[in-house]
């Protein structure tokens, strides 16, 4: 089951300059009760975004109309905590296709790639430049090129490279998926399992 392909994304960014954003903030546990992957975006950052009476918190970035775009820019150690893939689903469902940070938690990073969100890890200095660029002009666009593995601040032309392994890169470029790969090597897996049988 293929997901969206990712090639070059040009978009404005939504800044969330908070460190250690954990997956309980991205989607609180009480919204994990669905049995289908639907409508998680409504509860993205629920308790930062809404008051207890469900009115929007005006000071939260997602409620500020001057910020929009398909790129979420977070502080260091983004996505720590629970392994809930619902966090990646909520980010995707809300409309983001790329998350930029100077450091990602492992499980979140895997979950994001597994559903077609590109995690872009940049240096702390470059992350700061991105935050400053958005602060100076929220309509600043960023160009995320997966083929070149670069992110560029279009206003200044400043650019930085990011890492991704060749296998995952190819998957994202083509909309391929791990499960199809594993299905195609099932006889090898069966042989391995039979030999192993502890």
């Amino acid at each position: 089951m293929a997901y969206d392909k990712f090639n070059i994304l040009t978009s404005t960014g939504v800044p969330l300059p908070i460190e250690n954003v954990d997956t309980d903030q991205i989607i609180p546990a009480r919204f994990l009760k669905a049995t289908k992957r639907e409508a998680f975006g409504d509860n993205l950052f629920r308790d930062w975004r809404y008051n207890a009476d469900n009115t929007p918190k005006q000071d939260f970035v997602l409620n500020n109309p001057i910020y929009s775009g398909k790129i979420l820019v977070g502080g260091t150690n983004f996505g720590s905590g629970s392994s809930r893939e619902h966090a990646a689903w909520a980010i995707y469902d809300y409309g983001f296709r790329c998350v930029v940070s100077s450091f990602f938690a492992d499980i979140f990073k895997n979950n994001a790639i597994n559903m077609g969100i590109l995690p872009v890890q940049v240096s702390p200095a470059f992350l700061e430049k991105i935050f400053l660029a958005i602060e100076a002009d929220p309509t600043t666009e960023f160009i995320v090129s997966l083929p070149e593995q670069t992110i560029t601040i279009s206003a200044t032309g400043e650019k930085e490279s990011f890492d991704i392994n060749g296998y995952k890169k190819n998957n994202l470029l083509n909309g391929f998926d791990d499960i199809d790969y594993l299905q195609a090597m099932k006889s090898d897996i069966a042989t391995f399992a039979a030999a192993k049988a502890v």
């Binding site: 009480r30 207890a52 260091t76 720590s80 893939e85 995952k168 594993l182 897996i189 502890v198």
Partner: protein, 479 residues
């Protein structure tokens, strides 16, 4: 060829000393993808109601089956009530998830321990206590605290739902091999210093992201002397410093814990397994990417004051100044504001509204023994709401058989039924906004125990001291 021979062969070919982690990892690589992850074989897969339904939906959409249903075990825990489990679950969404788990398990031939089943309980409690978790295995679950099972010398870690679907359909996931970290703690632990304090201490030193990208081996005489319950508490919290998992080399403590458990190997199979398990240790001279050493004598009973598990301190100390810490002060101030605390506040004496003992971190028999040792002969403070939640029915039964229930009842505590409960508050066990909870669970994130809740992570002893005094109290003063 059985696994022992594969291991022996690997090591006779390469004279290089290996780590415990390498030995187990390398024995499970089905294929190495160039410039990509390893195709990694999974021995045991646990599922629960929250992170599995969409994976089963994926199988249906693709029209594929579960490859090895006998290697997957289902238990209901995250979303279950902790009272009146004999009644239908009131919340329709929770009930729907529980039903989906039951139906999916039945459809694909997966063993299912639902509500009411005597083996039901928190996935990371029931796996080990039924002998499913064994040394040298690879174990995954759609839950980050799967790292718990590393206490047995297994490679165990949490995965996302896409990966749950991979394991169901192919018994493999795609996983790059993490880097290796060893954490040595040597010396003698002080009075009232429990395994929970050891792990909170380590995390406070390494920070919440200090082990991201690594798999940890815990070594040193503190862990060698620790019970299996304690080792599980430590390995459980590995994820809270960002590590994918943590493991401890199996030894006689491990073997005697496993021996006789219902699904553990028996007879000849036991002898064979034991011979293999004894090879599972890090060779002298094996290299780690990074190594830390701590002195047991530096650890005191711990408590957290902030909104991530790295924000912990010795209970007798005062909250550090933001400027003394690594990382951003803005985030630090946000955290203290949320908690309603200030730099240099003393934690001792702060009022406590709720106490929670339970979870996959501290929901085992030893934790309730510790809790009972303090509450015995005392009374629960009137203004404290306490949730005492065993990790499983087996633990619940032990609590009754050992007379702990009588001590709890006498002190004014109600023993609830097993489940994840207030650790993540998916059920009704929610701490109200603004209230303070001393909790033996694993995460103090904003809103983790209910919207607006304020969590102080601590050991069962510290939780018990708070429960009987109504304030943050040094348990050493009550012992």
């Amino acid at each position: 060829m059985d696994i022992c021979k594969i291991i022996q062969k690997t090591f006779s070919m390469t004279s290089k000393p290996g780590t415990l982690f390498d030995k187990v990892w390398d024995a499970h690589v089905v294929r190495k993808i160039e410039d990509g992850p390893d195709v990694f074989f999974i021995d045991r897969h646990f599922i629960h109601e929250v992170t599995s339904p969409v994976a089963f939906l994926g199988l249906e959409t693709r029209g594929i089956k579960v490859m090895f249903p006998e290697h997957t075990f289902a238990t209901a825990d995250h979303n279950t009530p902790t009272i009146n489990q004999h009644l239908p679950v009131e919340d329709p969404l929770s009930a729907n998830q529980l039903k989906a788990l039951e139906q999916n398990s039945a459809k694909y031939g997966i063993s299912h321990w639902g509500l009411g089943n005597p083996k039901n309980g928190i996935v990371h409690v029931v796996g080990p206590e039924n002998g499913i978790t064994l040394p040298g295995m690879t174990i995954v679950c759609g839950d980050s605290h799967t790292s718990t099972h590393g206490a047995f010398g297994a490679i165990a870690f949490g995965i996302g739902t896409s990966e749950v679907e991979m394991v169901l359909s192919s018994q493999c996931i795609m996983q790059p091999k993490p880097l290796k970290m060893r954490i040595n703690v040597n010396g003698v632990l002080g009075k009232a210093v429990t395994p929970k304090d050891v792990t909170l201490y380590i995390i406070s030193k390494l920070t919440t992201a200090g082990a991201t990208g690594y798999f940890v081996e815990y070594a040193g005489d503190v862990f060698e002397k620790m019970s299996m319950e304690g080792r599980m508490t430590v390995c459980n919290m590995s994820i809270e410093m960002g590590a994918r998992g943590g493991m401890i080399a199996p030894d006689e403590t491990t073997f005697s814990y496993i021996n006789g458990r219902e699904l553990a190997p028996k007879g000849e199979a036991w002898d064979k397994a034991l011979a293999y398990w004894k090879t599972l240790k890090t060779d002298a001279g094996a290299a780690f990417d990074v190594e830390y050493n701590f002195d047991a004598a530096d650890i005191e009973p711990m408590i957290t004051y902030g909104t991530n598990p790295g924000m912990g301190m010795g209970i007798s100390k005062s909250i550090p100044k933001g400027a003394d810490l690594k990382g951003g002060t803005a985030t630090y101030e946000k955290s203290l504001n949320y908690m309603g605390f200030h730099e240099e506040d003393q934690m001792i004496g702060k009022k406590v509204d709720y106490v929670f003992i339970g979870s996959c971190t501290n929901g085992r028999i030893e934790d309730f023994r510790a809790f009972a040792s303090i509450v015995k002969g005392r009374k629960k403070a009137d203004h404290v709401t306490a949730w005492v939640v065993p990790g499983s029915h087996i633990v619940e039964q032990q609590i009754k058989e050992e007379g702990i229930l009588d001590i709890l009842t006498e002190a004014g505590f109600l023993l609830r039924q097993p489940g994840c409960s207030a650790c993540l508050a998916m059920n009704d066990d929610k701490v109200p906004a603004g209230k303070y909870a001393v909790s033996t669970s694993n995460r103090n994130f904003e809103g983790r125990q209910g919207p607006g809740s304020r969590t102080l992570l601590a050991s069962p002893l510290v939780a018990a001291a708070a429960a009987v005094t109504g304030f943050v109290t040094d348990p050493r003063d009550l012992m």
